[in-house]
């Protein structure tokens, strides 16, 4: 593992810088009449030296790792004969992958041509050179950084402030990762989606009524309109989410009401955590439960009363998804209902309203905005839920609102399109990213609205 060797070297250099920095500050301090003459403690000088040695070198290291592969690729390809360079981008990519395979020994030399063998040698040379250079450069930057810091050690150097400033920046960098994650999601999904829309017109995607991505693999079918119509997926997703909501909202809301307004403290203390177990069950478990227990049960039930039910019915997936979301709706509603001031309860009860009248006519109307916000969050979860539908919903896109039939969803299609062998750049693969884009923005929109509504609601009673 060459990467870890460089990394360990870097760590070692940091440690050395730390000890030298600390030692030197001690010497200087003692010479100047005791450690109290130093502005900071010796360890701070040590930390400073270590940071100076480590941070720039780490940056160099990361940048190098990032550009290494593309640079080598360009260099190797540049030396390939002209007839190879004339290949299309995809074929060239495949050709180059074989070169790398030969170089790493994972592809047998027998199956490739002579040019590739030469290129593989070149690749190995370049890789070795790059590794050597990387090690050298990283070490050099670390040593120079460490030396500079150690040279600056003087009694009036504000090492502690210096170290803490750097550290504050590190803390800031950590918290900004959230922004970069969002940015990364948006950019990566958007980038691929744009490429998809270059092949498939956006209108066909957004308003098409037929979804059959398989057809587009065949060269003569690329761009065939109608194959990538997103509407059936949207309808399927909404159908399953609606079934889920029909289960989760009444049960979750009524449980929350019962537990917060009627149940004794002890009953509540026992019941709530037990019901919340449902929230901790991994989604793959729900998927298994839906596919192997609930779906056959519903199908048999349907058959026994003379209904034909698909074995991957939207009802089964939605039902199980609803079970999953019950605790989510329950805790959100509970928080919201508890936030309604007690004075309103007393006012209503004090006039002789029964508890249920108080709940239905005072508490729920007062809590309505918050509950709507909570339900929106739950809908967003249902739309983004993957494993249950992958395991229990159908694969073929059917435009129907009958919950007894099999429908497919956005997330199911993303998984089917991307799992298994995939040719990158084919519209089929890119379509997954277009779906991802839609999914991201729909859920984002729901969340933003929901969080806004809930926040406004809380402010009202603060």
């Amino acid at each position: 593992m060459q990467t870890s060797t460089v990394f360990l070297t870097l760590v070692a250099l940091c440690a050395v810088s730390f000890f030298i920095g600390r030692h030197k500050s001690r010497l200087i301090g003692m010479a100047g009449g005791g450690l109290q003459t130093l502005h900071s403690l010796p360890v701070h000088y040590g930390y400073m030296a270590a940071l100076w040695a480590g941070l720039p070198a780490l940056l160099v290291f990361i940048v190098w790792l990032g550009v290494e592969a593309p640079v080598i690729r360009n260099l190797v390809i540049a030396e390939l004969p002209a007839e190879v360079l004339a290949l299309s981008l995809d074929e060239l990519g495949l050709y180059y992958n074989q070169v790398v395979g030969v170089a790493l020994g994972s592809v047998d030399v027998g199956v490739v041509d002579a040019n590739q063998v030469t290129a593989a040698h070149r690749y190995n040379e370049l890789l070795t050179a790059s590794r050597g250079l990387k090690m050298l450069l990283v070490s050099l930057v670390a040593v120079i950084g460490g030396l500079l810091a150690v040279m600056r050690v003087k009694p009036d150097l504000r090492a502690r402030n210096h170290v803490e400033d750097i550290f504050t920046w590190v803390l800031f960098a950590c918290s900004s990762i959230a922004v970069f994650t969002t940015l990364g999601i948006v950019l990566s999904v958007l980038f691929e989606a744009v490429r998809f829309f270059q092949v498939i017109p956006m209108n066909d995607f957004l308003f098409g009524l037929q979804w059959s991505p398989q057809m587009a693999i065949r060269a003569d079918q690329v761009g065939a309109s109608g194959s990538f119509g997103f509407i059936p997926l949207l309808v399927g997703t909404l159908l399953i989410s609606m079934v889920a909501m029909l289960i989760a909202v009444p049960i979750g809301l009524m449980s929350a009401i019962y537990l917060s307004e009627y149940a004794s403290r002890r009953f509540r203390a026992v019941t709530k955590p037990v019901l919340e177990i449902l929230a901790g069950v991994p989604t793959v478990v729900y998927g298994f439960f839906a596919a192997l227990t609930v779906a056959p049960f519903i199908r048999n039930l349907g058959e026994s009363i003379g209904l034909s039910v698909a074995s991957e019915s939207a009802l089964a997936a939605g039902l199980v998804m609803g079970i999953m979301i019950i605790p989510f709706v329950m805790s959100l509603s509970d928080d919201i209902i508890s936030a309604v001031p007690n004075t309103l309860r007393e006012a209503s009860l004090g006039m002789g309203a029964t508890m249920s009248e108080t709940i239905r006519k005072v508490l729920l109307p007062a809590a309505l905005p918050g509950i709507v916000g909570g339900i929106l969050l739950a809908v967003s979860r249902a739309i983004g839920e993957t494993m249950i539908v992958v395991m229990a919903a159908g694969l073929s896109a059917k435009l129907t609102i009958n919950p007894l039939e099999a429908v497919t969803t956005i997330t199911v299609q993303i998984v089917t399109l991307l799992v298994g062998d995939q040719e990158f750049d084919s519209p089929k693969t890119l379509a997954a990213f277009a779906l991802g884009l839609v999914l991201f923005f729909v859920t984002l929109l729901l969340n933003v609205i929901a969080l806004y509504v809930v926040r406004k609601y809380r402010e009202q009673y603060e």
């Binding site: 504050t168 980038f191 901790g280 998927g287 079970i323 002789g352 249920s356 983004g384 998984v415």
Partner: protein
């Protein structure tokens, strides 16, 4: 007014019966909702436990194995390498034929061979390599039963079912009954399940590779998410100025917490695999993706527990001349640590149960070998469950449920730990 009041009293009294009925109905709905929640939970757990429990036992058949050198193709003087190549399959087959000499037709013979697992020959091979003197001898051995045969012995397949609808045929059932009557079948704890990787044969499949993969993935997740999450929380709580950038960060954290997990998988595929060319199917990438996913959880809970630290501690530390950083790292964080750990454990539990984003980055491969590091191709426990759940063989259903039980066991332990920490924290 008193006349009014009198009239009201009558009116109210007249309406009371109806109103109380409505009240009782409403309460009943509430009770029913709670009860339904319980029923769902119970059915779910019962379904999984009842399906999964049999997977923890394995069935073995006692076969008198005749290590005939002719059939093996090697003799006692063979080297270990030769023994490895020897035909143990033939030995098992002939031994089975010896036990049931009445079996003659090709179809029946085939059915007979299907009583014993494919894994049996490897078990025999290992025994013979250990002790080459067995060659030429005839000895009783407990061999692993085929998953279908084991299914019958465990009572999962009934004779009532029409023969065409089941894989275990009547004649195989007869043989198994004979063996059982002679005391030649036994059950034992299924250690293979915990020691082996995935397999195409249900009776040989185990969760070891998936467990190891989950472990590596979680280690990567924790090493990334914990420090970054805590640092981010410290920054936002203690250092962040009130400005647009801070607002932007906070909005992002809140929204990321609600982004569907599969979108993180798309990010992982596009950025880490296609752009940075990190290895596919590796715990490294899985860990990175899951750490991005759990970061919001860790940041949000860490912030809450940092907030809960009494300001007097900060003032005391600042008052004796400690810098802000020293105050936070020497005084505030240690007090907030139980809360932070609670949040992190909950985040890790989420990551352990997560599978959708890992499908995106290729951790769905069929992995027999136990991964040795974070860059080896591997799978994780939830994805293994997904793969097994998709397998048509009956034997995998019980394996799936058993794997779920193991997964849920880990989750329960983690959550219990989190609750324990929170309780202790609250007492303070």
């Amino acid at each position: 007014m008193s006349k009014d009041a009198f009239k009201n009293t009558e009116l109210i009294q007249a309406s009371l019966k109806k109103r109380y009925a409505r009240e009782r109905r409403f309460q009943l709905f509430g009770k029913l909702a709670v009860l339904l929640g319980f029923v769902f939970l119970f059915i779910l757990l019962f379904d999984i436990v009842s399906k999964g429990t049999p997977a923890f036992t394995q069935k073995q058949l006692q076969i008198a194995v005749d290590f005939d050198p002719d059939k093996l193709g090697v003799d006692a003087s063979a080297s270990a390498e030769q023994l490895r190549q020897a035909n143990f399959n033939a030995v098992i087959k002939s031994s089975l034929r010896d036990m049931f000499p009445e079996v003659t037709s090709r179809g029946d013979k085939k059915r007979l061979y299907r009583l014993v697992s494919i894994g049996a020959e490897y078990a025999l091979r290992d025994r013979v390599i250990e002790d080459p003197s067995l060659i030429g001898q005839r000895k009783d051995f407990w061999l692993l039963a085929h998953s279908e045969a084991a299914g019958y012995l465990k009572g999962q397949i009934s004779r009532e079912l029409p023969e065409v609808e089941r894989k275990v045929k009547d004649i195989q059932m007869d043989w198994l009954d004979q063996l059982r009557d002679k005391g030649l079948t036994k059950s034992s704890f299924n250690t293979l399940f915990f020691l082996e990787g995935d397999s195409r044969e249900p009776e040989l499949a185990g969760i070891r590779a998936a467990l190891q993969g989950s472990f590596f993935t979680l280690v990567v997740t924790f090493l990334l998410a914990f420090p970054i999450g805590v640092f981010a929380a410290v920054y936002l709580e203690e250092f962040a100025p009130r400005n647009r950038i801070t607002d932007l960060i906070e909005i992002n954290i809140n929204n990321l917490a609600a982004v569907p997990s599969i979108v993180f998988g798309l990010l992982g595929l596009a950025v880490f695999i296609n752009f940075f060319e990190l290895p596919r199917s590796a715990p490294l990438v899985g860990g990175i993706v899951l750490s991005l996913m759990t970061l919001p959880t860790i940041i949000i809970t860490s912030r809450a527990s940092i907030q809960a630290v009494s300001p007097s501690i900060r003032e005391a530390a600042l008052g004796v001349g400690a810098s802000k950083i020293q105050t936070v790292f020497h005084h505030v964080l240690p007090v907030a640590m139980p809360g932070i750990l609670t949040g992190s454990i909950i985040g890790m539990a989420q990551a352990l149960g997560e599978s959708a984003p890992l499908l995106m980055i290729g951790m769905v491969a069929f992995i027999m070998e136990v991964p040795g590091g974070v860059t080896d191709p591997s799978t994780v426990l939830p994805v293994q469950i997904f793969l097994w759940a998709d397998s048509p063989e009956r034997g995998f259903t019980e394996k799936t449920s058993a794997a779920i039980m193991v997964l849920m066991g880990f989750l329960i332990v983690m959550n219990a730990l989190a609750i324990y920490l929170r309780r202790r924290f609250e007492v303070k």
